[in-house]
């Protein structure tokens, strides 16, 4: 990959083009792919993703996330800016994606449509990046489109993307259709629309849930529609709840090689395991995303059996 393969959006000023390319190369490891270790659940899903019957007790402690990020082989750790500031001075060599908005999952959609506001600004991200200094390579923002409050989130996202690009930061949108008006959150139509909206907002990456399979097509096959709709915006699929490693890795492999996605955004499938197992998992994912190993090699190399 050369610099010429990287899409530098027009809202990156010429003076920041090299900074943008550096950030892009850091998290994609010069392979046009991204393995995002996605860890914003302490606000989004409360403590439920970190403590419970099927969750290793290592996950109780938030520092677990930073230990995995440091000792594992991820592309970047995405988490809220506040959490980065709690551990940043001890974990200075991690690539960070600062998640800038948040909401809890407590208010059900039939009570009130979802709204998630920006908690931090790009100016604050840049200050933190320079002052500490920290490898903050980009930012994340969630939009619940189809919500009665989508206009607020669309507005904040557009401004944040523009400002991020002004400073050479990479942008990732978490795009979820949600609200009283949404009946099927994972229909391929809505997931492809999610990709198209993120693209129209000018984002470099879009994180979506993989579409539900239909009677005739698998989820990975349907992803082709999604990655087409995303244009030159890179699509990464979120991992969802923990599942058997073999199944998880095969699914990821197909998303990339059949669906045309540019990597993954994985959290629970990594951090709900013990530190050694979590690190092991990041290596297996890296094998698929960055080393481009075929799935049999990956499973054999990591001795994963169902």
């Amino acid at each position: 990959m050369t610099n010429h393969d990287i899409i530098v959006p027009a809202d990156v000023p010429n003076s920041m083009e090299q900074e943008f390319i550096n950030n892009y190369l850091l998290i994609t490891k010069k392979r046009q792919r991204l393995f995002l270790f996605s860890c914003d659940q302490k606000i989004e899903h409360l403590n439920n993703d970190f403590y419970g019957a099927d969750i290793h007790s290592d996950a109780m402690h938030p520092e677990h996330l930073f230990r995995i990020a440091q000792q594992g082989t991820i592309g970047a750790l995405a988490t809220h800016l506040g959490l980065i500031s709690r551990y940043g001075k001890q974990y200075t060599n991690i690539n960070y994606i600062a998640k800038l908005n948040a909401k809890t999952n407590m208010v059900p959609t039939n009570q009130s449509d979802p709204i998630s506001r920006a908690l931090w600004s790009i100016k604050q991200v840049i200050n933190l990046k320079k002052e500490c200094p920290l490898n903050i390579c980009g930012i994340g923002f969630t939009i619940y489109f189809g919500s009665e409050y989508e206009s607020i989130m669309l507005e904040q996202a557009a401004h944040i993307i523009y400002e991020a690009h002004q400073h050479g930061l990479i942008t990732i949108l978490w795009m979820y259709p949600r609200g009283k008006a949404v009946s099927n959150e994972q229909s391929v139509d809505l997931i492809a629309s999610a990709a198209g909206i993120a693209h129209s907002l000018g984002s470099d990456f879009v994180k979506i849930k993989p579409p539900d399979a239909t009677k005739v097509l698998t989820s990975a096959q349907l992803l082709k529609i999604v990655t087409a709709a995303a244009g030159n915006t890179n699509v990464i699929c979120s991992g969802g709840s923990i599942m058997e490693p073999k199944l998880f890795l095969e699914k990821l492999y197909d998303q990339i090689h059949i669906g045309g996605t540019a990597g993954c955004a994985t959290g629970r499938n990594i951090f709900q395991r013990s530190l050694p197992q979590a690190i092991f998992m990041t290596q297996a994912i890296t094998s698929i995303v960055y080393e481009n190993d075929d799935i049999k090699t990956v499973l054999r190399k990591y001795q994963i059996r169902s």
Copy 2:
């Protein structure tokens, strides 16, 4: 056409008058008409306008819009600023109209009245125009009047028009009556009112849906009331869903020559076709809008038959 035929609104400062005239001449091709290639549907209509049974597969890929704009013969491409930033560096010779607000069509009016907020500012448009540089000649903004939230959109539109004119940019309002209080969105009364509101807000152009025909008058005849109500604001009609080329071109011809409109805002009737057919369609429209050919000449020249 001389500069003296161009209405320069009073909120264009003297120092920006030439810039305004240049932008006006660029998109009207010195013929007081505008053929706007209108492409904001990836957010407004989701992926539904880009993928489906009757849509050519070229339309799946967002770059299709830019290819048509570059290889076809349009006046300007209107699309969201974020999408412009994704392709701007590769397509620097297109005339752009930056669409500044957006909403999805997911929340039905009977659930909540429509609201579409500004996602980008004139300052950002100007920065992008100068930095890249890009031929951004003007801006677009949608108002849903009759909505319970119309006051927010009226406020943002008025400020954006004022600021755009301060920088010599052309303004186009998408004016749609919509909300629980609106029973007939295409009655001539409301369409003429749409034109009058846009005019009162100081806009250079207004994009409306053509009024429904009545028992005694055709839509094109009723457009006379609309273009009168618009004063010196230019009226352009949106094209709506795809239809047979002959029908589409005859309709457009009548809008201009009977209704007194100043051109068209066409999207789906162009981009839902293959690239060659789409380019062909832009040429036929150009023949009507800019070359002022009579309809028989146009149909013959492009060998279009029903």
Copy 3:
């Protein structure tokens, strides 16, 4: 009238006192009265006031308003700043009152209480006044008190009045009680309250609807209560729908000479007529408001009969 008869409010800085007095003398023609040609209906009443069975076809064209203002004998033309900017460069010798907020009349009160937000700022008014230059002598703003949203309009009005006075501009409030909580919009109690609120907000003029007559008192007699409540704020009555000229002029005469109002705010009774008739009407009104002719003289001079 000398300068000493003019109330210069305390929020006009000393350096702007002469500017305020000049503006005041311009629109009152040194006679402490104001004939406001009130033309904000293209947004407020949609196209319904400009096209229809009983409306002359001249009214279809927005420029009609400017032609009347230029060729007639009004004190000032009140209309939205956007409309002023569309015609300002061709009509530089008109005295303008820039109407700064707007709403349509589409959402009924039983659906949602009225809200009209500021669309333009005093800073924009001043820029336009100086750059073009234009004779913008003052500003207008509507408050719907009794609405659930009154606090937003009260806030914007107070700031706009303060800022207008800081720049020596005259202020006129359109004061209408409206909302689910209002049963009789034209009771003298509410109309007098309207005057008192405008006075408490520091406005120079207040435009109200004349109160409904009671069993014992005429509307003009009841206006005495209103003009008392207004203190040193000048009261002008809005004209309402078109009526027979004789009736209209007699009513206006009584409002001034019995009710103690300081002039009128007339729109439809002028612009719904042909250009010559509209000009004629402005002369008859001028005869009452500025020349202080008695009603018989006026009717005779203009040969008006019922």
Copy 4:
């Protein structure tokens, strides 16, 4: 009283301490008491407090308030900044308290909870004070706590108090429990809470309605709880509707001497009378508040009998 008896709050900068003390001494006449002539009713109560069967016709004219303030013996006149600006240049020797927010009483609580927003800023108050110049000694602001919108009023009040103190102005909060959640607006619990909230917001004075008497304690006795809860914030009681002078003065005397309040906020009991009677009333109140006469002396001195 020496300067050392005056509580200068910590948010008054050292450079403004003397200004604060001067303002405090002006309105308290060096006696640690305040007789506030409270006149914000033209917006709060509409025209109903100024015109009607039992109201002297002098009250119809807003200048009545300024005549009383100038010719009577009040501590300060509290009214909206807009009204001050209408008469300020003619009445420069009055001590003013600028009331900064307002609402009408038209929307009933069961339709929508009360909200009153700031209409003017401290910056505007200071400009007016210096430019004219005017003796604006402090500011007033109303909070309806228990309203669903209390958070907006608490926020604005806190900022206004802070800013007022930064410029050496005295602050007075009008504290009223109101809204669907409030069943008894004058229970001693809520009135004491009102005092405590104003104190926690840092206000110098709080204006409350006197608590309802209980079976065992008079309103004046219950006021002890209120003045204790107010800490070093001075409590003044509002006067309410007009009543017989003897009753009014005895009530006021008890509020101060039994309840421990620091004066009164009186409007209707003064201005609903003729100018001579109103001036007479201000003198009787002054006798109690500032001259500390005992009630018998006051009644005898002013020959007041029931």
Copy 5:
């Protein structure tokens, strides 16, 4: 304890690191624990916490809080900035935590979900700290998560924490799940989630209510889950209503020694007593929190019996 034991978050600039450490050491008395004298109830609980059958009459007077803080042995006094400004000049040697938002408890959750807005800014805190000067060591802010308005409070909290850290101030979040969507406010799941959210927002301390005991585990045992979820954010438990001293102290002891909390936030259990008893209580709490005495020693030393 050395400086190296203190977590300095990354959003504290290097130039403010020493200031942050100084503030941290002041309130923790170099023992990594905090005894917060928590006194924001005059707005949050109205006058009900300060006057009533079981409350000593000393509590009627707000200065009681400052007397206790000065004569007792607390770590810091947390109260609203406005109240600090009323007494700050007389009580300059107290360590203060400025509580920055507030709401009353009058509107029930089934009427409207809770919202508490920032009443003061960090800039105002810093000005007050420097100008007076006052020992303001940090700030407090309440978030009601699970409320329909949580996004507003999350946004304000994140900005306030960032700004506070920029100036070297310590941050404490009051975290309460509340709203129509919350059925059990003290379930360990929600309390642990509260700790995790505060941690993700970057706060130094989080104040929570202790979780309800389950059939198998005590509240103190369940606190282990909470303090794990809080990561390097320190957890302190609020004290709640007044209870028998022995019970209160034993509970506190267990929270620290079993649950792993870093101290306490106590108000009513102190200030609802007479001044001497309140001071005595602060000494007993200090014995546990700062002197690390075992519970038997504490009870014996202070001769406390049930």
